[in-house]
């Protein structure tokens, strides 16, 4: 009982009675031996009675699930709502004009910072010069090619952080499956377009 007590000079030496009082109540025999405390063994009748009672309790529990009703989200019809900061498929943005016939300039200036930040190396940007006749973005240059390979993307959101103009953000789309890998390379037009279906957002209390 009292064996293996630390008795180095730095700690006050405990009396025999003290160490026993400390060791016994929690079932700790010594510092590295723990005595397992078992519940008292029951007789056959008592354990049968207990098993019967627990069975009834189990039946009550499962029946309560019926009363509660199913919690299933019927997926293709009903989508799982996402949190506002959920990182789904990327979106490229334009400046708002409020007029669908004349969409605003693209925010992306083709600086390739997103491509540099991307740990999966899935963004490809080819920049071109803006000219007064052919102005795409407010900056000096614009992205002539902007492609994200979503089969490589790990949805870390570093591109969003790296972008100095908030031109690329992570959207909420998570339904990204296709029949071929090449279909998962999203071009600038696809990233600029509004998603076909809107993913539901979680409300405050969910």
């Amino acid at each position: 009982m009292s064996g293996n007590q630390p008795d180095d000079a730095g700690r006050a030496r405990m009396s025999e009675a003290e160490s026993r009082a400390r060791a016994t109540p929690a079932g700790i025999v010594s510092e590295d031996v723990i005595e397992v405390i078992r519940e008292p063994a029951r007789g056959r009748a008592a354990s049968t009675y207990r098993a019967f009672g627990e069975t009834l309790r189990g039946l009550k529990t499962t029946f309560a699930r019926i009363v509660e009703g199913p919690h299933t989200i019927q997926y293709p019809e009903e989508k799982t709502p996402v949190y506002p900061r959920f990182r789904g498929r990327h979106k490229l943005h334009r400046f708002e004009t409020g007029d669908p016939a004349h969409p605003g300039l693209e925010k992306c200036v083709g600086c390739s910072l997103c491509a540099a930040a991307c740990p999966a190396d899935c963004i490809r940007v080819v920049a071109a010069e803006n000219t007064p006749e052919h102005r795409i973005s407010p900056g000096e240059r614009y992205a002539a090619v902007y492609e994200i390979n979503l089969s490589r993307c790990i949805f870390c959101g570093y591109c969003e952080v790296a972008c100095p103009f908030d031109a690329i953000t992570m959207g909420h789309d998570y339904e990204l499956s296709d029949y071929t890998r090449s279909d998962l390379i999203f071009t600038k037009e696809m990233l600029l377009a509004e998603p076909i279906e809107r993913t539901p957002l979680r409300t405050e209390d969910e």
Partner: protein
């Protein structure tokens, strides 16, 4: 001379055949409904919907599954014993259906001016008939598991044999209490003897023992060690696919129907209603089927609730608790009846 027991025939042979076909047809119509009912109900017990994609409310699911199973390529493992491997599922389902013949769905009635008993046969050894076929149905499991030539099947079959033999004893003894009270072995006679009071009241202990033993006899949860999906990958029918697999599956459900039929007949007063109101005869089978559905629902409820027993727990429950209880119940009943 009575060889094995009297069979109370009074119908012409063609009525017998029609009755057999009707019972067979009704049973096989109930089976798919029972599978979808079980899956949907278990879904509800677990807080989900269960199958709901095929057809309205998923009701076409069994049809789709049967279609899938029926179109599967028949195969057999190279280590299997061909003839036995083929015949084992047939034994399982034939014995199940044969045992269904003694479940009475109603008394003798007049249909088109003819006296017809609403049951397959009324033998003077009713429960013995059922136990005999239950005994033969072991061969379905044993031969199937052994003839598959697979360790897992063989283990499942061995477990099945040990479990079925252990629990058959308690199941039988639990029934004997009722048989002593009713003073008859004919199941129709037992129902008629319950006009005053259903045997579930005086034989409550016997009823519970019978119920627990029935779960084990039909290899249902929590006694499904024979199948044990996680350890034995379906046990004795691991190596079966396509229609033989369905045969085993249906045999299990037929056994459930038979056991609940016997329980309804013996303990819940068959087609009788409390207070014996005078009702038209055609309602009798509906009453029996409704009571059977109660039982089947309970089977499913238990399956959704209890985890599988450990093997030593199974054996000690069967031999150390159920068997002494059943014997005690039998002794007390015998003393009360004799006194």
């Amino acid at each position: 001379m009575i060889v094995l027991g009297d069979v109370f025939y009074f119908e012409p042979w063609w009525v017998q055949i029609i009755k057999a076909l009707v019972i067979f047809g009704v049973a096989f119509a109930i089976l798919p409904i029972l599978t979808i009912y079980e899956r949907k109900l278990i879904g509800r017990f677990q807080g989900r919907y269960g199958p709901n994609r095929v057809g309205p409310f998923g009701l076409m699911q069994p049809l789709a599954e049967i279609l899938k199973f029926a179109t599967k390529e028949p195969f057999r493992p190279s280590t299997s014993v061909g003839f036995l491997y083929r015949i084992a599922p047939m034994i399982a389902i034939v014995t199940g259906i044969a045992a269904l013949a003694i479940v009475p769905f109603g008394p003798v009635q007049h249909i088109f001016g003819r006296r017809v008993g609403i049951y397959g046969i009324d033998v003077s050894v009713g429960p013995l008939y059922a136990f005999a076929f239950a005994g033969i149905s072991f061969y379905g499991i044993m031969l199937g598991g052994w003839a598959s030539g697979s360790k897992y099947s063989f283990l499942g079959a061995m477990r099945g044999a040990a479990q079925l033999i252990s629990y058959e004893v308690s199941q039988g003894l639990a029934l004997v209490g009722v048989l002593i009270s009713a003073q008859t072995l004919s199941l129709v006679g037992i129902v008629n003897a319950q006009k005053g009071m259903w045997y579930i009241v005086p034989q409550a202990a016997g009823f519970i023992i019978f119920l627990v033993a029935s779960f084990a006899e039909t290899n249902r949860a929590p006694f499904d060690l024979v199948e044990a999906d996680a350890e034995l990958v379906q046990g004795y029918f691991t190596e079966y696919g396509g229609t033989p697999f369905v045969a085993y599956l249906f045999a299990e459900y037929v056994n459930m129907i038979v056991v609940s039929g016997i329980a309804v007949t013996v303990f819940l007063g068959g087609w009788l209603l409390p207070g014996n109101p005078s009702i038209p005869g055609w309602i009798d089978p509906i009453i029996v089927i409704a009571k059977m559905m109660l039982f089947l629902t309970f089977f499913i409820w238990i399956r959704a609730t209890l985890p599988r027993l450990r093997y030593d727990q199974l054996m000690s429950l069967g031999w150390k608790i159920l068997l002494p209880l059943a014997t005690l119940n039998l002794l007390v009943t015998a003393i009360v009846v004799a006194a």
